[in-house]
Amino acid sequence: MSSTTVAPAVREETPFRRFLSEFAASKIAMGGFIVFAIIVVLAVLAPWITPQDPYDLGTIDIMDGRLEPGAVGASGITHWLGTDDQGRDMLSGILYGLRISLTVGAGSALIAGLVGASLGMLAAYAGGRTDSVIMRVVDLQLSFPTILAALMILAFLGKGILNVVIALVIVEWAYYARTVRGSALVERRREYIEAAQCLALPTRRILFRHLLPNCLPPLIVVGTIQVARAIALEATLSFLGLGVPITEPSLGLLIANGYEYMLSGKYWISFYPGVALLITIVSINLMGDHLRDVLNPRLKK
């Protein structure tokens, strides 16, 4: 940090660049970021790097079922994290499971973010009745435990990956709406919005080109933490058997599959997917926690 003050940077310091340097200054946040990046890369590359395609029944030998970590299967593959009851390589299963967990988590967070941010901005910009109606719904939504709301929705809609995403979106949008409304209300009274209004710019343009960018920092913080929550919630729902179908096992379902074997001491079928889940969630939360600190001056409550 001190070296930057000794040798003044010639480059102009944009808020974004300052944000990057502040973020990089925290070892914990950077650690979280690096771990998360590795997880994402591994998940993306899963089809090419895993020793086995866990869904290609041709490569799976049921005789390899419930092998201990480090054991060598009949097909000659070393199963570093053991195998499940079907003889599936756990490492491969976890990497494929990560793909689904991350997709569902990030996807639902993204959609919820879009829906929530739009409604939040609408509430802040329109005010009056629109505002109070939207915020009533937000309050009701937030007063209800997420797991219960998700259960309710899945009970009505049925299982399936799409329904899980819908449930997660319905559960999560309110957080974004409240956050964006809060900061948009502050920003709305600033001069630059008034100036834009005086220029008679179209409302849509004011909303998305002027207001939204200034509500982004808190939105990013909430978004980061919500991704972690979405991943955890999806895993929980899948564990309960209400989430993704057996053909597309996420980490939660892998853990559920190993549950019955855990009591007989075959811990690895549940344990390692759990560790993968844990590392993912914690790394995201570490980033989120620090992001909140870095962006704090703009997060005035």
Partner: protein, 320 residues
């Protein structure tokens, strides 16, 4: 006080109506009510009879009134699976869930309050930092996985505690028998985990804020011992927000017991709802949701009253 209570009751009633509407819409508008409320095994004649009985041939607003009327009479439909009134089924399972939720709340307070107090009184110590890091972990760890780990370590590896079920019960309660109590420990801890983190954070920030207040300095200026200042002057003030939040959280604790009950095969409402969802026993689902909503409202009301008992400022405002 009475006016205040009446106003709160009225608000609660509004929320109840709103939630019954949502559940109603969920059942009747999103899903096909015939499918949801009538057993798939029923024959044509039975179906027709049930449709008339449930008023499904009437317009939607009339159906809602019928739904509300039935609900008020305690009739929330019959379970397809058990062929029992759904309400009765749920009420039978309620003690188990309540026991678990209360056990978790007790753990949360017993563990969270002292740790939070310590972290608040010595904010720069290594212990406080460890406690706060632990509380972040408590927030991020998925409940069901921690439950599995608890089973793995304490039930399977160490063999100290039983892994699943309620054990022996006396008058329907586990905690009254030694065997039942041992069954209650792991699920309670599991369910308490999130709440412990919450209590730690609340207590810590409460302590830090209260320590800066003039009345704490004045209490010290009176020559009171450090313990008296901490445990009477500071503690009583932070107790109000902590009790409020823990009380309010009781509702969500009951909701989240769905997960813990599934992990530990704890035969409560949560296990019942998951099983019901899995076999599409929809009357039970509807009944569960209505019960939970009602519970939320009652809890909020009780917490409000408790709050006013604890905080003299609120209590006496109503009188004057």
């Amino acid at each position: 006080m009475t006016v205040y209570l009446l106003r709160r009751l009225f608000q609660s009633l509004l929320v109840l109506v709103a939630m019954s509407l949502i559940v109603f819409v969920g059942v009747y508008a999103v899903g096909d009510p015939v499918e949801i409320l009538i057993s798939p095994d029923a024959d044509q004649a039975e179906r027709a009879r049930a449709i008339v009985a449930l008023g499904l041939d009437k317009p939607l607003w009339q159906q809602y009134l019928v739904f509300v009327q039935n609900a008020l009479r305690g009739d929330l439909g019959r379970s397809f699976v058990y062929n029992e009134p759904a309400l009765q089924l749920i009420l039978q399972k309620m003690p188990a869930t309540m026991e678990l939720a209360l056990g978790a709340t007790v753990f949360a307070i017993l563990v969270g309050l002292p740790l939070g107090l310590y972290a608040g009184l010595h904010p720069d110590s290594g212990g406080a930092k460890a406690i706060m890091a632990g509380s972040i972990l408590g927030f991020s760890l998925p409940t069901f996985w921690v439950g599995l780990m608890l089973i793995m370590v304490f039930a399977v590896q160490l063999g100290w505690l039983p892994s699943t079920g309620r054990g022996d019960t006396l008058w329907g309660w586990s905690f009254l028998t030694p065997n039942g109590l041992s069954h209650l420990v792991l699920p309670s801890i599991n369910l308490a985990l999130f709440k412990i983190s919450l209590v730690i954070r609340l207590t810590r920030s409460g302590v830090r804020e209260t320590m800066l207040m003039d009345y704490v300095k004045f209490a010290r200026a009176k020559g009171l011992s450090r313990n008296r200042v901490t445990y009477v002057h500071v503690f009583k003030n932070i107790l109000i927000p902590v009790v409020t939040v823990v009380g309010l959280e009781l509702g969500s604790t009951i909701a989240f017991s769905v997960v813990t009950e599934s992990v530990f095969a704890w035969p409560g409402m949560g296990k019942l709802i998951i099983d019901s969802i899995n076999v599409l026993d929809r009357p039970v689902i509807v009944a569960y949701l209505m019960i939970i909503v009602l519970m939320f409202i009652v809890i909020n009301l009780v917490v409000d009253i408790m709050y006013s008992v604890l905080d003299p400022r609120v209590r006496l405002e109503g009188q004057g």
